[in-house]
């Protein structure tokens, strides 16, 4: 397993795999959010300026909402994603992998002030580099983390072929290795496939492409195909 994957056991007794998002995609998401908010503010400021000085007060209220409330409201109502995070495929989750709730979201967004401090997100950057789950200080205190939404790609299908019963009984690990070889054979060059298959010549009694075919046949048999 890669070290950025965090495994969390759920109450159902299975484990979730959360892929922690590093500083770069998060900075990009933040930049998207920044430009979005600036755009909204400018668009709103034009009609508000018609109201004279009173409009200035409304503009300040809007600025306040965009500065402090935007992230919290988006994260809670849009399933842990501000619009920038949605664009970059990121998501904020609680430490147990559940969607982020009100208070943790408030904590992590208030403490953004600390993470943003020296220059542009100096503390936050250092914190994401040190922390194993790439959390900034606000995330650590809130008990949240930012993850990639897209799951890891599913395994490929074992090529269909006539099933060949195995001549000997293999233990579970060996069976799994055989099936995994068959699954991944599509991603390997024929030369590499043959090189790997030749390791099992004592089992198959064949060499090169014939050995590859036979192993895939065994894998088909292990999966229970006809």
């Amino acid at each position: 397993m890669l070290d950025t994957i965090r495994e969390i056991e759920t109450p159902e007794g299975i484990s979730l795999h959360l892929r922690a998002a590093g500083a770069l995609p998060r900075a990009q998401a933040w930049t998207v959010d920044l430009f979005l908010r600036m755009g909204v503010f400018m668009l709103a400021a034009i009609p508000l300026s018609l109201f004279g000085v009173g409009g200035k007060g409304l503009a300040l209220l809007l600025l306040f909402a965009l500065m402090w409330a935007y992230s919290v409201v988006c994260e809670v109502w849009l399933g842990g994603q501000t619009l920038g995070k949605r664009a970059l495929g990121l998501r904020v989750v609680n430490a147990d992998g559940t969607p982020v709730t009100w208070l943790p979201s408030v904590v992590r967004n208030l403490l953004r002030v600390v993470d943003a401090l020296p220059g542009v997100y100096g503390v936050g950057l250092i914190s994401t580099l040190i922390d194993p789950h790439a959390r900034r200080l606000g995330d650590i205190v809130a008990g949240t983390m930012v993850i990639h939404v897209s799951e890891l790609p599913a395994g490929q299908q074992v090529p269909s072929q006539a099933a060949l019963p195995l001549p000997v009984v293999l233990v579970a690990d060996e069976q799994a290795a055989l099936v995994e070889f068959a699954e991944r054979s599509g991603q390997l060059t024929p030369q590499r496939q043959e090189e790997l298959a030749n390791l099992l010549t004592p089992l198959t009694g064949r060499n090169d492409s014939a050995a590859v075919r036979q192993l895939i046949g065994h894998a088909n048999w292990l999966l229970g195909r006809p």
Binding site: T10, E12, G13, I14, L16, H17, V53, G54, K56, G57, L58, A59, L60, L61, L63, F64, W68, V76, G79, A95, D96, G97, T98, P99, V100, T101, W102, L103, P104, V106, V107, L110, L111, R112, V113, V114, L137, I140, V141, A142, G143, E151, L152, P153, A154, G155, Q156, Q157, V158, A172, D173, Q175, A176, V179, E180, E183, L222, L223, G224, R225
Partner: protein, 325 residues
């Protein structure tokens, strides 16, 4: 059981759950009203069971990855945050927040001392040695402040602008200060101590200077209305920051991580309460404090009443009820 047979037996069930979950992402409200929503917890747990079986039996990635993806999607739906209940906001403001403030009374008392001590000392010093004003403030700042509280001014506490504009300004300015005070407490409390002290000197300095030069009347008439809410909120935000910093220094009988998370939750609730107080304060400041034509009795009477209400609320609020918030 062989893998192919397992998939053949349950594959259709997985597909239907998968398609329901995808539909839920596109149209949450409509999909939730479907019949299938009632079966979701059962089918989700069955899916988890299947995943555990598939892993235990060593099935290939084709199956485990497929199940894992549906499980992750289902987990988000199963454990999504509950819809906000508005009465909880009310019960938090009436009972939960004062209770939380009292529970953290040591930090609140420390924050009050850190804020009021410098303020009082500066205020008194300005009476004894008025020239000190030029040490604390630049002459531009002094001129600004003097213009705002000039007894000849028809609007108290501002040189220009309407009520609406000032309301927006007060919210933006004061709430940002309060939030930053809380957040900067994470630096071992140093940030909160600095902000509290600096604001104490600033506010005491302005009050002292204006009183010393004889503009005290308009100044005190202006600030007395909203001072209760605004100063208390600042002290509470500072106390929340101190609490966070102290937890980082002395987590007590817990590891630092969990202790910080707990302190963060308390701090966020205190900051939210302070936000509500500052919102109310900004409203009073913009629409009530600025009226110059009211008699002194009304101004100072309402100010004293607000102080009594705020302190009484923080002192007694949420007592006697055993649940709520």
């Amino acid at each position: 059981m062989k893998q192919e047979r397992f998939v053949a037996l349950h594959g259709r069930e997985w597909d239907s759950l998968q398609s329901w979950l995808s539909a839920l992402e596109r149209q949450p409200k409509r999909t939730m009203r479907q019949e299938q929503a009632l079966d979701f917890p059962v089918s989700y747990r069955r899916l988890c069971h299947h995943l555990a079986l598939a892993r235990g039996r060593g099935y290939s990635h084709e199956v485990t990855d497929r199940l894992q993806r549906i499980v992750q999607q289902g987990h988000r739906v199963m454990y999504r945050p509950p819809a906000p209940r508005w009465h909880r906001v009310a019960s938090f403001l009436i009972a939960g927040f004062p209770r939380l403030v009292r529970a953290q009374w040591r930090c609140m008392a420390a924050a009050a001392v850190l804020f009021y001590m410098p303020a009082l000392i500066t205020l008194v010093l300005m009476q004894v040695r008025p020239e000190l004003a030029h040490t604390v403030f630049s002459s531009v700042q002094l001129a600004d402040v003097e213009k705002m509280y000039d007894p000849a001014n028809t609007h108290l506490g501002r040189s220009s602008g309407t009520d609406m504009q000032m309301f927006g300004f007060y919210v933006m300015n004061n709430v940002s200060i309060a939030f930053r005070t809380f957040a900067s407490g994470l630096f071992f409390g140093v940030g909160a101590i600095y902000v509290l002290g600096a604001n104490g000197v600033l506010i005491g300095g302005v009050a002292g200077h204006l009183t010393a030069i004889g503009y005290g009347g308009p100044f005190w008439r202006f600030v007395v209305g909203h001072s209760a809410l605004e100063l208390s909120a600042l002290v509470i935000a500072g106390g929340a920051g101190l609490q966070l910093g102290l937890t980082l220094l002395t987590p007590g009988r817990q590891r630092r991580g969990p202790a910080l998370v707990a302190a963060g939750w308390v701090g966020a609730q205190l900051a939210l309460g302070a936000f509500a107080m500052l919102l109310a304060a900004a409203f009073v400041e913009a629409y009530w404090s600025s009226i110059a034509a009211l008699p002194d009795v009304l101004k100072f009477g309402s100010g004293a009443l607000l102080w009594l209400l705020v302190l009484g609320w923080l002192w007694r609020g949420g007592r006697g009820t055993s649940h709520g918030a």
